[in-house]
């Protein structure tokens, strides 16, 4: 096994010490008979300790595949390229592991999956096996990553169920997943993910299938747990409202690329990419009542055999022939912590919710 382990000195730069996961030029390509499907095409992300990174985009933009790549669970026939640098261990002696270089069925990645990086899904029934009780499944995760002692694992499982606000946790331990309501199932899944004390929690559209009132409960729960445990969260959603509520940093994805990357306030009050701005204008709300929504023309192209240049070219109101459709557009730094993949990022008026009133 060729594992690239880079020792880092304990006292690295303060800004750097914050970073626990760094994704560099991540590419996930699916090699199909018909060609190469570029699901994720050159994504750079930085996950800071105790912070939430929101990834937002429409269906097919590659946000879910990105999260799968982080755990190396990209379905066949996908290939992962680039670097996923995870800082392992305590702050005293940390080592950096490149997850891309690990064998995706190997021991090391399995200890990271569910251990240091845990994931919660949109559909909790898919995360649970229907034939084992909730308690058994949570205990299994604990036995794998935290302790070898059964009664100890049981105690931790109970504690975790309590901490996610499960009513009557002792009884819930012995129930099967289908006996729980949607919100409770989601809580149980979060409990299972958190039971192993992960450093990073990936939440892939965890509230999309839930009703608003239940969604509110779950979002609040994730935020509380984040405060309490200092876990970093990668929150994937298509809902800008949820992003506003949950994130510290936001990456907007379109066609496998990050088109805008900044902190949440800058995004909502100073978005510069035409796609991000259009997304904001598409949200129906009071402000847009009795007005037409400024929708984006056309639909998202399929990420195969794409033309050169900006992916948004065909739908962009600002697009210029001979400029935008010639070469790949790089991610420009507009200001500190604000990156935009657009040639006209600087000259445009920033958009977002802030400018409407």
């Amino acid at each position: 096994m060729s594992v690239n382990i880079k020792k880092q000195s304990a006292g690295a730069g303060a800004a750097n010490a914050d970073v626990i996961l760094e994704v560099k030029d991540l590419k996930v390509h699916f090699h199909l008979d018909e060609g190469k499907l570029k699901s994720v095409d050159g994504v750079n992300l930085t996950i800071r300790k105790g912070k939430t990174l929101g990834i937002v985009g429409e269906s097919g933009c590659g946000k879910s595949v990105t999260s799968q790549a982080l755990l190396r669970i990209v379905p066949h026939p996908g290939t992962v390229e680039g670097q996923i640098l995870l800082k392992r261990g305590n702050t005293g002696n940390s080592e950096t592991v490149d997850l891309v270089k690990l064998d995706d069925k190997g021991k090391e990645i399995r200890s990271i999956r569910g251990g240091e990086i845990a994931m919660i899904f949109q559909e909790p029934m898919k995360a649970f096996s229907p034939i084992h009780t909730v308690g058994d499944q949570i205990m299994e995760a604990i036995l794998l990553h935290r302790t070898k002692d059964d009664s100890e694992a049981r105690r931790i499982a109970l504690e975790t169920l309590q901490s996610v606000g499960m009513s009557n946790p002792v009884q819930r331990m012995n129930e099967f997943p289908h006996q729980l309501s949607g919100g409770m199932r989601q809580r149980a899944m979060i409990a299972m993910a958190l039971a192993s004390h992960p450093n990073i929690l990936i939440a892939d559209e965890p509230t999309t299938a839930l009703d608003v009132t239940v969604q509110a409960q779950v979002l609040q729960l994730i935020n509380e747990l984040k405060e309490k445990t200092g876990t970093s969260v990668i929150f994937i959603t298509h809902d800008l409202g949820v992003i506003a509520e949950m994130s510290d940093d936001v990456a907007v994805m379109y066609l496998g690329k990050v088109v805008e990357y900044t902190d949440v306030d800058t995004l909502f009050y100073g978005a510069r990419h035409p796609y991000t701005k259009a997304l904001f204008h598409s949200i129906p709300s009071v402000a847009s009542r009795n007005k037409r929504l400024e929708s984006i023309e056309g639909t998202v192209p399929f990420p195969m055999n794409l033309p050169e240049g900006c992916g948004f070219y065909s739908r962009c109101p600002r697009a210029e022939d001979g400029l935008c459709n010639v070469t790949e557009i790089p991610l420009f730094k507009v200001s500190e912590n604000h990156y935009v993949r657009c040639l006209f990022a600087e000259e445009q008026n920033p958009g977002g919710v802030g400018n409407e009133h």
């Binding site: 018909e34 699901s39 879910s64 399929f302």
Partner: protein
């Protein structure tokens, strides 16, 4: 994760055409049968099976013309002759483009009275195309004596697959038997189809009491072991029936038992399709029940029925074979693969006349090919997945 996979799948049918613009058009206006054909074509094994099956059925249709002898013609000199080799070269005449077979000379072992055959190299019989041979009635309609291939002398021994213990040409018998056995599969399925569609359709569409009755009947029928049930029903057929009556009697027996599987498929499909939004849309559009069934439901599960049929034809053929083999189905002088295998029931055959097992290989081939074909059709049956 699933959505990604589903996206590729939907893209797979799309992408094969997106490369060239003129083909895009073809994809977009392609009907379900067109899409299924495209998908089916990709399944190499199924394509191969389809071709083999077509050849098998063609040979069954034209068996009188294809077989060198007629099946009941006895060559008393040549009982249990092993298959002859086809030769192109002999010491006397050298190489000849025209293939020939040697006569078979019987010798009897004086101690065991076992007969063995040796090639008689002195008597070659050349094989010609379109020769005059024994007279037959093509499809029972008109008389002819032209055979695709054979020897000039209609009484010359040419047994490419050997003969049975009455000295009848096995190759010809296998071709004639194929007609009976293969047709049995098709005819059996026609009645099964009618029963399955009707009862399954009623069960699914009407629901309620009708559904309960039909479903319990199916439960009852499938919990009886098939072989004993077949045997009981076959034994109930009057002894004085003609061969043709027995043949159709057996088809009815198989359909009475066989419709259950199809009926369940049809019922299940109707139940799920009835819940589809497009069925409700049709109802809201003012479509009558008849229109919903014929325009929306039937086309939607037609492909599944084809799959189900393809997979149950071999079962029917095997059933006929089994009954005939046991001696309670078709009887000699009717020739079917099962009847032919009756001759291979004892150890002696296996030891001394193994060529009598040839019909079994044809049965295996047919069943395998139908199963492969069914596999391919099943994959193609829902092009919208």
């Amino acid at each position: 994760m699933n959505t990604v996979v589903e996206k590729w799948k939907s893209y797979r049918i799309r992408s094969k055409t997106t490369k060239k613009p003129e083909k895009t058009e073809a994809f977009e206006v392609a009907s379900q049968w067109q899409l299924m054909w495209w998908k089916f074509k990709k399944h190499k094994m199924a394509m191969f099976s389809a071709i083999v099956l077509i050849l098998l059925y063609l040979s069954a249709i034209f068996c009188e013309f294809l077989s060198p002898k007629v099946p009941l013609e006895r060559f008393s000199e040549y009982k249990n002759t092993p298959p002859q080799g086809i030769h192109f070269y002999s010491k006397e005449t050298g190489f000849s483009l025209r293939p020939f077979v040697y006569d078979m000379k019987m010798t009897v072992d004086q101690k065991t009275f076992r007969r063995t055959f040796q090639e008689d190299k002195s008597k070659p019989y050349y094989i010609y195309f379109f020769v005059k041979g024994s007279e037959y009635k093509m499809w029972g309609l008109f008389n002819s004596d032209i055979h695709l291939f054979g020897t000039k002398d209609p009484n010359a021994p040419m047994f490419l697959a050997g003969t049975d213990d009455l000295g009848r040409d096995l190759l010809s018998r296998m071709l004639y038997g194929g007609r009976i056995s293969l047709a049995f599969g098709i005819l059996g399925i026609v009645l099964t189809l009618v029963l399955g569609l009707l009862l399954g359709g009623l069960s699914g569409y009407l629901g309620g009491f009708t559904d309960t009755v039909i479903q319990r009947t199916i439960d009852l029928l499938i919990c009886i072991p098939t072989i004993p049930l077949w045997m009981a029903l076959a034994a109930a057929m009057p002894r004085n029936w003609s061969a043709l009556e027995i043949y159709f009697g057996m088809i009815i027996i198989f359909s009475i038992i066989g419709w259950t599987g199809l009926a369940r498929v049809v019922r299940g499909k109707i139940l799920s399709l009835r819940e589809e939004d497009f069925t409700m849309a049709a109802r809201l559009a003012g479509a009558s029940d008849m229109r919903i069934v014929t325009k929306h439901l039937l086309p939607s599960f037609a492909s599944y029925i084809i799959v189900s049929i393809t997979l149950s034809i071999p079962a029917t053929i095997l059933g006929e074979t089994a009954l005939s083999f046991l001696g309670i189905g078709l009887m000699p002088p009717v020739v079917s693969w099962g009847v032919l295998l009756q001759d291979a029931q004892n150890l002696e055959t296996l030891a001394y006349h193994p060529w009598l097992l040839w019909p079994a290989s044809l049965i295996i081939l047919t069943v395998l090919m139908f199963n492969f074909l069914g596999d391919g059709l099943r994959d193609a049956a829902d092009p919208y997945k």
